[in-house]
Every structure is written in structure tokens, then in C-alpha cells.
């Protein structure tokens, strides 16, 4: 018990969580502190490049586990299935209309790469090892949920006139699979893999050393955006929707824990897979939803994903998922 409390406190008082809180507080106080968009994007690109590259280099060092393919398939399955569960729950337990419920569900099936990164950092701070190829699993889990979300939304539509004769709004396979963050993650992963230890050595002062600091600054930005969203949209969301943002990650975590047991993963990799399942997208899926389901209200899904589920995972979820993984592995 004491151990758990200590870990929780250590996590809450880590620079990255504190910088997130700073951003949140600044935005809620309507400070004009802000990170220029091109710089925020640069931070995000850097984090994806670094985490992908390091994962690949790790694979080059440790060799490929035969489990990888299975794990990727399991990840894809989770990304496909979780939105369906999330959707059923939302339809019963929240007042959200079908289309908003489908859009929200898609977010929870996909993943948040910065949550994944925060979990990796947490595991490192606890000296828990994990496989480098989890990065590839993360990339694989980004997109499938989008398809489920769209399918959920469209199942309910009558074959009515306004979709006939009009271009259907499916994002193209290119838009989904060659999405910038997937390309960056997978590309950097492959390069890290090819160049291995030698590559890591030349790149380390860039991708390893300042990594935690850049992450902290990025979390400041996420806090600012989350706070801005909460300030403007929390009121319109209703308690039942807000609560979903907290219990849904737990449900996903439980499902993913089953997969961890089935595939007999290591503690570290198990913790990361659970974290991926429990995290909600805030980059790729919102953009896809604006294309595919423009009637869904962005204020709702963006605020739930970034304003509620992300901070919950960051502060409490990640240590919890690590404990869960430790318990079953």
C-alpha cells in the first residue's frame, strides 16, 4: 500500500505531470501563455521521431521476438473492438446522440502516443524493462478504431437522400494509413532498426539526452490546450459523459489485461499495451472525424480525450496499469 502511494506521489510530482498542471492552470486562469503552433508541432514530431528511433534501435539490439506479429494483431484487434464497446456503453450511459457517441468511441479505440511515451518514462523510472517493438504496436493501433467509429455512425443512418449521389465521406486508405504520425513512428522505427547501436550512438545526443525536457515542454502545451477545452466546453458536457472519460480507460485496461495474459507478455510490455488500450487519441482521430463525421461535435470528443482521459491516465492511470501488468505477469 505504502509502496503504491509512494509511486503515485512520485509520479504526480514528476516534472512532466507538473508541467501539464502548469499548462492547465495557466489556461484556466486565461493567461496568454501559449506555444506557437509550428513549435508545438515540432515538439510532437520530435517526440515521435525519438520514440520510434529508440524503439527500433532497441529491437536491433534485443532481436525480434516471435511474439511481435501476434502482438500487433492483438493491438489491431483491440483498436477495432474497443470502439464498439465504448459505443454501446455511451449509448446506454450517456445522453450523447449516436453520431457523437461513435466519434468519441473512435477516439478511445485509437491511442495517444504521448501517453505511451509518459508510460515508457514511468517504467524506466521504475526500472521495468519493455520491448522496443511496442512502438510498432502503438503505430498499428492508431487507425483501425477510425473505421469502427465510422461504421458505427453509418450503421444507424437510413439510406436517405442526402448520402445518395453525394460523395461518401470515408477518409481514404491513404489518409488513414499514411497519416503523418504513423509514417513518422514507423519510419523512425525502421531507421532505428537498420542503423542499430551505431545509429543510436550518433543520434543519442538528439533523441535521448534532451528527450525528457522536450516531453515536459510538450506536456505544458497539452495542459494549455486541455485547459482551454475544459474552460470552454466542460459545462456543456454533463456528468455522465465526463465520468465515461474516467471509467472507459479502466474498462479498456481490463480488456487489454486479458490480452496480456493470453500472450504472456513481460511486465513492461504488458503495461505499455494496457496503456495503449486505455489511452485516447488526440491527433489523428479528431482530424479523421472532421472528415468522416462532421456532424459530431469536436468540443465533446476533444475535451473528453485531452481534457479528461489524458490527465487521468497521466496522473493515475499509468501507475495503475503498470501495477495491473505486474499482477498478471
Amino acid at each position: 500500500m505504502d509502496v503504491i502511494l509512494n509511486i503515485l506521489t512520485a509520479n504526480l510530482l514528476s516534472p512532466i505531470v507538473l508541467f501539464f498542471v502548469l499548462g492547465l492552470a495557466a489556461a484556466i486562469a486565461r493567461s496568454d501563455l501559449n506555444i506557437p503552433e509550428p513549435f508545438a508541432k515540432a515538439l510532437s514530431l520530435y517526440l515521435m521521431l525519438a520514440i520510434g528511433f529508440k524503439g527500433g534501435a532497441e529491437v536491433a539490439r534485443a532481436g525480434l521476438d516471435s511474439a511481435l506479429l501476434l502482438l500487433i494483431l492483438a493491438g489491431i484487434a483491440l483498436s477495432f473492438v474497443i470502439p464498439a464497446i465504448a459505443f454501446s456503453i455511451l449509448r446506454v450511459a450517456s445522453p450523447l446522440p449516436r453520431i457523437d457517441a461513435a466519434a468519441v468511441a473512435a477516439h478511445y479505440g485509437s491511442i495517444s502516443i504521448v501517453t505511451f511515451i509518459a508510460a515508457s518514462e514511468f517504467l524506466q523510472s521504475q526500472a521495468i524493462a519493455f520491448e522496443g517493438y511496442l512502438v510498432a504496436v502503438a503505430a498499428a493501433m492508431e487507425a483501425p478504431a477510425i473505421l469502427t467509429g465510422i461504421w458505427l455512425a453509418q450503421r444507424g443512418r437510413k439510406a436517405n437522400s442526402d448520402t445518395q449521389g453525394r460523395e461518401r465521406r470515408m477518409p481514404s486508405m491513404r489518409e488513414i494509413l499514411f497519416n503523418g504520425s504513423i509514417v513518422m513512428l514507423v519510419g523512425a522505427f525502421i531507421i532505428g532498426w537498420i542503423t542499430g547501436d551505431e545509429g543510436l550512438e550518433t543520434m543519442a545526443p538528439f533523441v535521448v539526452d534532451p528527450f525528457k525536457g522536450v516531453l515536459a515542454l510538450f506536456l505544458l502545451d497539452m495542459g494549455l490546450i486541455a485547459g482551454r477545452g475544459l474552460r470552454s466546453s466542460l459545462r456543456m458536457m454533463g456528468l455522465r459523459t465526463i465520468l465515461f472519460g474516467i471509467y472507459m480507460p479502466l474498462i479498456s485496461a481490463v480488456i487489454a489485461t486479458g490480452v496480456v495474459m493470453l500472450l504472456d507478455l513481460s511486465t513492461g510490455s504488458g503495461a505499455l499495451l494496457i496503456t495503449l488500450a486505455a489511452s485516447a487519441s488526440y491527433i489523428a482521430v479528431p482530424a479523421a472525424m472532421r472528415i468522416a463525421l462532421p456532424e459530431a461535435k469536436p468540443a465533446i470528443y476533444a475535451t473528453m480525450s485531452l481534457g479528461i482521459t489524458f490527465p487521468f491516465n497521466l496522473a493515475i492511470g499509468i501507475p495503475l496499469y503498470a501495477a495491473l501488468a505486474a499482477a498478471v505477469t
Partner: protein, 103 residues
């Protein structure tokens, strides 16, 4: 200087839908357009700000397209097909240009 009467269309739409809009414009017969980034704004769905955003969702752009009045109808139809279900402000005004060969 000889001025020629043309139409100016200004489209304000969401960033994620931009490529669809330009694809629609490209095939609708316009001779060119220019995209301007937006910094923020406000509407029925509340206010938004570009600062800090990482996702394309939540950002908007303005497209300016100058064209001959004879093209207006089909181009507006093509635009409307894209923005129909989407957030999108489309306005048309009269302008005069100094070189008529471009439009």
C-alpha cells in the same frame, strides 16, 4: 489601366477538409486559388485558437479564388458539395483585375 470584372470567392473551412476542397476546386475549372492560414475565430460552436494545436482538427484556413463570372455557378456547386455537411463560410464578391488572362 484597363480593369476586367471578375468574381472573388472566399472560403473559410476546416484544415482537415482542405485537401478535399482543393481537389474539388481543381476539377471544377478554376484557374487558381490561394490558401491563407487562419489564427483563430469564433462561431456557433464556440471559439478556437491555432496556438498550441498539434492536430489539423481545430484549425481553419481561408481560400481566395478569383475567377470569371461565367465559371461561378459550377464552381459554387463544387464548393457546396464539399461544405454541405461541414463548417464552411463561402462568400462571393465583385472585383476587377488588371490582367484578365489568368482567370
Amino acid at each position: 489601366m484597363q480593369l476586367h470584372k471578375k468574381k472573388r470567392i472566399e472560403i473559410i473551412i476546416e484544415r482537415p477538409i482542405l485537401r478535399r476542397m482543393t481537389d474539388a476546386l481543381d476539377t471544377s475549372g478554376v484557374h487558381g486559388y490561394t490558401i491563407l492560414p487562419a489564427h483563430g475565430g469564433s462561431g456557433q460552436d464556440g471559439a478556437w485558437e491555432r496556438d498550441g494545436l498539434v492536430s489539423a482538427a481545430g484549425a481553419m484556413v481561408a481560400i481566395i479564388c478569383i475567377l470569371d463570372a461565367t465559371n461561378l455557378e459550377p464552381v459554387l456547386d463544387a464548393i457546396y458539395a464539399v461544405v454541405e455537411r461541414q463548417i464552411g463560410i463561402v462568400s462571393v464578391s465583385d472585383v476587377e483585375v488588371i490582367r484578365s488572362d489568368h482567370f
